[in-house]
Symmetry: D2
Subunit: 312 residues, 4 copies
Amino acid sequence: MITGPDLQSLVSQIADEMRARPDRGRVADYIPELARVDPAYFGMAVALPDGTVAAAGDADTPFSIQSISKVFTLTLALGIAGDRLWKRVGREPSGSAFNSIVQLESEKGVPRNPFINAGAIAVTDVILSGHKPREALGEILRFMRFLSDDQGVAIDKAVAESEQRTGFRNMALANYMKSFGVIENPVDYTLGVYFHHCAIAMSCRQLALAGRFLAQSGRHPATGLSVIQAERARRINAIMLTCGHYDGSGEFAYRVGLPGKSGVGGGILAVVPGQASIAVWSPGLDAAGNSHLGRIALEAFAKRSGVSIFGA
Amino acid sequence: MITGPDLQSLVSQIADEMRARPDRGRVADYIPELARVDPAYFGMAVALPDGTVAAAGDADTPFSIQSISKVFTLTLALGIAGDRLWKRVGREPSGSAFNSIVQLESEKGVPRNPFINAGAIAVTDVILSGHKPREALGEILRFMRFLSDDQGVAIDKAVAESEQRTGFRNMALANYMKSFGVIENPVDYTLGVYFHHCAIAMSCRQLALAGRFLAQSGRHPATGLSVIQAERARRINAIMLTCGHYDGSGEFAYRVGLPGKSGVGGGILAVVPGQASIAVWSPGLDAAGNSHLGRIALEAFAKRSGVSIFGA
Amino acid sequence: MITGPDLQSLVSQIADEMRARPDRGRVADYIPELARVDPAYFGMAVALPDGTVAAAGDADTPFSIQSISKVFTLTLALGIAGDRLWKRVGREPSGSAFNSIVQLESEKGVPRNPFINAGAIAVTDVILSGHKPREALGEILRFMRFLSDDQGVAIDKAVAESEQRTGFRNMALANYMKSFGVIENPVDYTLGVYFHHCAIAMSCRQLALAGRFLAQSGRHPATGLSVIQAERARRINAIMLTCGHYDGSGEFAYRVGLPGKSGVGGGILAVVPGQASIAVWSPGLDAAGNSHLGRIALEAFAKRSGVSIFGA
Amino acid sequence: MITGPDLQSLVSQIADEMRARPDRGRVADYIPELARVDPAYFGMAVALPDGTVAAAGDADTPFSIQSISKVFTLTLALGIAGDRLWKRVGREPSGSAFNSIVQLESEKGVPRNPFINAGAIAVTDVILSGHKPREALGEILRFMRFLSDDQGVAIDKAVAESEQRTGFRNMALANYMKSFGVIENPVDYTLGVYFHHCAIAMSCRQLALAGRFLAQSGRHPATGLSVIQAERARRINAIMLTCGHYDGSGEFAYRVGLPGKSGVGGGILAVVPGQASIAVWSPGLDAAGNSHLGRIALEAFAKRSGVSIFGA
């Protein structure tokens, strides 16, 4: 693992290379508000256990974390429901697109894993249970602020409303699960919370800081508090590795070799167990819906710093 | 990592625990020859870089490695075809059973990954290319003997013939791929080699030794020769992690946290990058077709020795 | 074709036989209001071109026509949109259950035919276009009253509301189609009309009368008015034959040999082209969701009167 | 029904119109031998109960009947196995392509109907049972000669061998069914008979004559012998209507309104119950694999002569 000044120069170097590349993928267009983001942005931040951050490019510009929020809602839901959560959602790769509904039909409404849309909606339903949407959302937001040591983390309401107006596919998924009893709260409540936590805006710096507990056996380095048991932190990393990039999860594991979770806003959170958490952001996506340059940047980082979990 | 005498006592302890458990899963019955194996067997072996092996239980009894052979044929095929191999087979988890044909229809005959049956047949076809079945099989066998430092590794012909007589599902998969041009050799040739390399019989000790290169950046520890480039060794580990246990791959990653590949003979080969390769064998399978006690033994091993790739 | 007194005695005989049978299928339980209907009911009515009706059993008891309404909404929508309708819905058998969502994913939100739920929702959306839900519903109801020469036909609001509260699967289908632009009106509007026209209550006598135009080249016998062009009447009959009984359509064609459309309320409307329209009602359903005794009664009727469209 | 001289002039008129059309579809290219057929051919023949035939165009040129043979093998198999046949094959439309394998996986190897490839292979297996391939084939051929009153009907061996060399998809289907026990004979035997009966060459005249029993309550008009019970003839017509044109069956019922069975050689056999059997041939196919001009010619014939089974 490269540390200190070497780490900063590596991150800066990669950011420079990425900003120069002409191939940037396609910005997500299915949420109108996201379609307006400039594809030229590129940011990267690496947070170490001691709280130091190596950052470069647009690492302090907030972006819509979208599905990356699913890592944090999964963490919260495991704290609330423990292993009972796994009655409502599986933990196998799906072999299909992020918003596919086919698998739900053959598996009686139980989504394959917590990182495809259907699974994340089911997880949100667990967090909501017994609360009002506003309360559940407040809890999620407080969690994100605590993890990133930053009270400035907020929800981008324009994005949330944009998705709420146009998220028919997610409404289909939620109603479909509801028909099997997998969703317990009113569909509108669950989706309201879901659309809003996906619309949390964070910078790479904030996101890398928020992800530290996954690299640190479940502990929050700044306070020493246990966010989640060490075994659960490992297991979340395992699910990120197998399911974190939709139907591009195998490709990410193959090329980058680190647990990671992408969002259609163009962000990726990656974890180097025991060493660091990394956030990258480039809005253009590849065919599987993952950040095109984000993945390439992480591949370069893992290769040059030798941090693959699959060997030297 | 536990080493030396501690490692031996850990392996012995786990073997004792496993032999005492009443739940043993179900022995595979779709290959008549395999259906006769006694479910009471349990063996385990851990091979370290220096060539020492900690073994317990039936670690020296040969068993049919079946799909574990796919790790080694993938290694050979990458040596032959390099990255051109990936035109014939993908590297994403399949989200379905080991012998499913559904995905082949929607993806024009290209199997999802090299570890489901269809993908392994396509990989075998690459190895066969330009050779006679006997020659290709000889090459595979020599490779296995070299990796395990043991000239005694052999093919169990009764098993190969049993599968050849009854392997209609694999004949369907191969003919289906042939109809899309994904199989280039005569279907009978490719399947002949496939059935025979699946019928290789090895003990846990031999298998753990054969897997060392995956833990050692692609190098064969005994000779220092490079079996495969370090990057490719890492990537094979990544595919083992995401696809090595069919539709139970997510579960294995979640519970064990190591790259692994199972076979319906009840064996599993697992890799601790940089540290060790591990083979376990218990013939009874779980619903996804993976060794029931084998997985439990590896989960116990990873937990007690703290070797998960996903963190401490 | 049996006529006059013979027809009445045949219908009475079949009704008697059906009421005596112990096997009655299972009453639909997914709409709470329908689950309360007594499975002992059996009614049958045959309407001839001259307006005479041979009726027996509970032929004057109203029941929820459910999906049989789809024949009439298809007729109305063809009148409104003509062949442009077929851009929004196909006319092929689906090969899957009435509420399956799988096919919608592979065919970009266009349902296979107007008689599965998704297709009927799309047809309702065409009728709604440019109207308020109340107006569209009024038009459908006036149409049913006109066709059956009976101003007493009405909507069972308890059933409509029961389905509106629990119809999550249909909400999923509608939102899914909306995500592809196949539904143009607000989902709640379209579903509101859909749930209400499915909740129309009619007796066998009313329903048989309403179906006469399909047997009479599209003409309404009482007034001589053309309900629809003769070619379109034939084509609606064709779609009833191939798609009218969900995934039991082949079975119905094979056994009965007449165009027909079933509803989960236990009703079936069948057509003898040029001769008669027939309504039967028995609330218990078979595995494919079609009236169990209703089909058997129609099979007996077709056999004894020799009216199969497939030959003498 | 138009008869006598009117019928001849109608058939001639349609043949003239069809020969003049520029749109001819695409000749099947997946069987090399068929790919060479000139798309300019067009033939049509209508056989009446009294044995008179109205023919036009290339009505006396033999072509490969391909899947039309499945109507006759179904008839034979029903004679051999009776209703036990329906344990090996269903009678529902498939909702997918003629050579799809997806449905077989979810329905445990039982094909949906006797007219998709998998179903026809299962039917052939029933005919073969207890015979040598040569004997079964002889029986099929004698049956075709008897039905068409023509000893000249023969198998085109070049076509049979062409398909045998390249029919990997059918080999996949057969092996897949074999793995579920749906095929009882050796796969090679069953496929050998299947490929050969598909390769029977007949002219429109011969084919129209052979189909008369379906229009005549199962009787062979020339001899008065019963080929099959009247009820079974009706039911075969029903299956032709719902399943006779693969995933274009709904379209054919909608446009033509007659039971029919197509083959990739470009032929279609249609039945007017009680009145006539019709054969057309034009080698170019539409997207669903059915003769493009053949369907248009039958649509014109049904419309102008008013013979739809769905009404006047």
